[in-house]
């Protein structure tokens, strides 16, 4: 119970750091820590496989990819300047509070149903039997999606040949 509150406070602190830190690099590392604490929460809830996947993919690959891109583009000229408009801030804060209030109301009304632990067999064996027997087609589609994303990244970031030729002519 104490560990629940501890993990929640840590995650909330890092999430606030993501939004309110002045430097984008600090925000990226705060996001890394947020994702790691979410992985710890997964571990505590008993979903060990997803915890490992979260650490490997989201914290290990995605957050580092962010830092890598920040390295590629010159970040010194980009400071994290926020919109100072007061009306916008008030309107969005009210919206967020309303969303959170409705959320809390729904949770409080169904708290007994929501906090019960009904998972009978939480072993990885059961999970993988489902994944590779029933859901093998979505799994294969996911691999195709990853391949498509890879090709898309290469196509989008690859320089145009015409542009490269022009730049080469300029240098000459």
């Amino acid at each position: 119970m104490i560990s629940d509150i501890f993990l929640t406070i840590i995650t909330m602190a890092f999430a606030l750091m993501v939004v309110f830190s002045k430097k984008t690099v600090v925000a990226a590392f705060a996001l890394l820590m947020t994702l790691l604490s979410i992985a710890m929460i997964y571990f505590q809830l008993g979903t060990v496989f997803l915890s490992a996947i979260q650490v490997l993919v989201n914290a290990g690959a995605v957050a580092i990819l962010f830092v890598f891109v920040m390295m590629l583009i010159n970040l010194e000229q980009f400071q994290n300047n926020r919109e100072k408009g007061k009306a916008k801030l008030i309107i969005s804060s009210v919206t967020v509070l309303v969303i959170l209030g409705v959320f809390a109301l729904i949770i409080n009304n169904n708290i007994e149903v929501l906090t019960s632990n009904n998972i009978a067999d939480n072993s990885m064996k059961a999970l993988f039997e489902k994944l590779f027997n029933v859901y093998y087609l979505p799994f294969e589609m996911a691999t195709v999606l990853l391949l498509a994303a890879l090709v898309a990244c290469v196509v989008i970031t690859g320089q145009d040949k015409a542009v490269a030729k022009e730049e080469g002519a300029k240098h000459e």
Partner: protein, 98 residues
């Protein structure tokens, strides 16, 4: 006592939403989107725990794959935009209206 995690998931989602609305540079917007994804995944896991449906864990597995694709393509779009316009601010980008 795992009910506190429900509030945490809602907090992460709304904070990410706020950041997505308010931030001005594209990298911060993508960071906040990733945080929203994290909140939603946590919520699905909690529902999986309370309903006992094992499939929702697989749903989160596929969600993580799709969010990885989304981040990769988003970052490559940012790099392409930076090459073309030398900026990552949303205010400076008027490609559609030009």
């Amino acid at each position: 006592m795992s009910s506190i995690y429900y509030y945490l998931a809602g907090f992460l989602f709304t904070l990410g939403l706020l950041g997505t609305i308010f931030k001005k540079d594209l990298i911060s917007i993508l960071l906040c989107l990733e945080m929203m994804m994290g909140g939603v995944s946590l919520l699905i896991i909690l529902f999986s725990r309370s309903t006992g449906v094992l499939e929702s864990q697989l749903l989160v597995f596929f969600t993580i794959i799709i969010s990885a694709c989304e981040v990769a393509i988003g970052l490559s779009l940012i790099i392409a935009l930076y090459r073309k316009k030398q900026t990552i601010y949303t205010d400076d980008i008027k490609i559609i209206t030009e």
